[in-house]
Amino acid sequence: MSPAIVVIVILAAPLAAAVGCELIRSPRFAEYLNLAASILVFAAALRLLPIALGGPYTLWDRYLIVDPLGAWVLLSVATVYLLASLYAIGYMRALNSPARLHRFYALFAGFALTMLLGPLMNNIGVYWIAIELTTLVSTFLVGFEKTRESIEAAWKYIVVVSAGISLALLGIILYYWGGSLTLGPTYALTWGTLRAVAPHLNPMIALTAFLLVFIGFGTKVGLAPMHTWLPDAHSEGPAPVSAMLSGALLNTAMIGIVRFIQVTDAVHLGILPRTVVVAIGALSLAIAALFITRQTDVKRLMAYSSVEHMGVMTLGFGFGGPLGVAGALYHMLNHSLNKSLMFFGSGDAMHAFRTKRIGRIHHVLTSMPVAGALWVAGAVAITGAPPFGLFLSEFTILRAGLAGPNAWAVFVMLVLLVVIFVGFLNHFRAMYFGENPKAEAATGRWQLRAADRFWCVLPMWLALIPLLAMGLWWPSAFSHYFAVIAAQLGGGAR
């Protein structure tokens, strides 16, 4: 099968779902149409993995690129899209606003489409636009419930991210300018062209441009100190949207940073650019640790955990080399699975207890035994405890860091991971086993019909089982895959 056909399926399925949901205004039809699209996208993304291994293919006048790195990010996006589409069926039915459900699914599929576009874009200008489009579509998903808080979150989201990403546009223009001094005034700025021209770039321009794009796309990734939009947007959107934002969207911006690191390596600027990347990653961990420890809102807790894990991934890519890249990529997929599970669990808890405040959630296991057990297993996994996948990937990243020039960051990362482990699980201890100081009346009841409950619990199983499997066993096919990507990214190999 040629890559073009698979790519068409990946892009056409969510597009058809978005249009179909908007045209046929039936909530039942919309949820199943969206689900069908997500299954199709997931199957196609799986199929794309081995195809992409054949090397970078460019399609349609070099506007699209299919390479192993992009295919890997597509897989993580498709996984979250599938899980979130399953979960949305149960979650959104329980919200009881059937009149607007078709609009929700149209936006949801549209959001998935924009996220699937990003990793496929070969022209850097168009990639920037794809990332900008994800913001525009998801803003309305964040504000979907139209409460005062959700509108506030949507506003902050669009303003902060648009302002941040405009820095990336400035950086891209500078790259184009730097390249035009060698290549002549008119050329197509693709990833390949930029990488080829990188050794001839003026180092000052290349450094300035890299810092601008790093800060710009870093805003979208949610790296501290540009993370301010993230907790608001992640906590105020409906739970499936939070999962998509955290598990999928952040990765699509991360791939841009990774590709720019690759370009910057080719400029030979010394260790400064990578040190900046590592430092920002470590800062994200530090900020996340502070806010996780003192958090009172369960969804914001998950949001700051995303800041943490994006920091860990940034450290992995910043350390570079085969180990760093492999660890970061493994971390990406594990985090996508795990964070979806965590947001699904918080969504269930919100249904059961009618609150997001950690202090008002008690004895979760008595009110929702199965979902509660899955949620707490996910909580153990997300703090990086064995035997789950994140333990392996974080361990690999630590090992990668020790070998490089930025070994100080490894020790910072270790200390902060321990702080986060204690802080994060302490909240779960309070929610599961803490004594309720108030009356017993505060116990929640998960009032969902059995069918809806099935849709809420199924994706949690589907997220936890692979997470456990990938913690016990690192497939050798993955190792090979990561080695290919690391070889293509090159540069940081030491």
Binding site: N123, V126, T139, K146, S166, I173, S235
Partner: protein, 226 residues
């Protein structure tokens, strides 16, 4: 590079247009009235359209005439019109509680321009472009970027925030016209279209803000903290 070898008249014309655009950003900083912001933004867009046309003429990039026309149409007419509709609906005609008074903003803005100039002059010097229009373009681009950020920080009316973002965009566009006039047409078109969609999205969000949050000022958006 095109900007390094220009006839003197062209150089002066480009300088005049960029500096005037930068001054218009200061008009926004120095005023409290939303209509003044809008007028300054519209005029700035027209100047940038003129600049595109001038670059097309002197640099022999015929496709830039089209960009100039579209810039004048979208940035100069459609966007101000959309924003005017938003302000009319809001019943707000001026900034009530700016965090920094207009006069102080002017001073800070001046400092930002100095900073932008230092950075650009340094970049230009490493390329041997000192004293050319390229340095001026970089300065204008960075200054307008920083002034846009300043507006986002110190102004709280929603319309001022949208305009802050648009000033940033205008700055990038202005700089790119001089630095990289040969940038593929498609990219410029899509960015223009993107801008239109951004403003449309902002329009919808503003309506939500008024209806569901009952405010037109971002000062009241402070529930989500921690």
């Amino acid at each position: 590079m095109f900007a390094a070898h220009l006839p003197p008249l062209a150089g002066s014309l480009f300088s005049l247009l960029s500096i005037t655009s930068l001054l218009l950003a200061f008009v926004m900083l120095g005023s409290r009235w939303l209509n003044a912001y809008l007028g300054a933004f519209a005029l700035q867009s027209w100047l940038i359209a003129l600049l595109s046309a001038a670059v097309a003429y002197y640099g022999d990039y015929p496709e830039l005439y089209g960009i100039a026309a579209l810039t004048a149409l979208f940035r100069g007419l459609v966007l101000p019109y959309l924003l005017l509709r938003i302000t009319r609906r809001l019943n707000v005609d001026r900034e009530l509680h700016e965090r920094l008074s207009p006069s102080s903003s002017l001073v800070v803005g001046g400092l930002l321009v100095v900073f932008a100039f230092v950075v650009s002059a340094h970049l230009g010097a490493t390329l041997g472009l000192t004293g050319t229009i390229a340095v001026l373009a970089l300065t204008t681009m960075l200054s307008m970027k920083l002034i846009g950020f300043l507006m986002l920080m110190v102004r709280s009316e929603v319309v001022s925030q949208i305009l802050g973002l648009l000033v940033i965009e205008n700055g990038i566009f202005l700089g790119s016209q001089i630095l990289v006039p040969g940038m593929p047409l498609l990219i410029e078109l899509v960015i223009l279209f993107d801008l239109l969609v951004v403003v449309a999205c902002f329009g919808v969000l503003v309506r939500y803000l008024v209806v569901h949050a009952g405010t037109t000022s971002t000062r009241d958006l402070k529930r989500l903290v921690g």
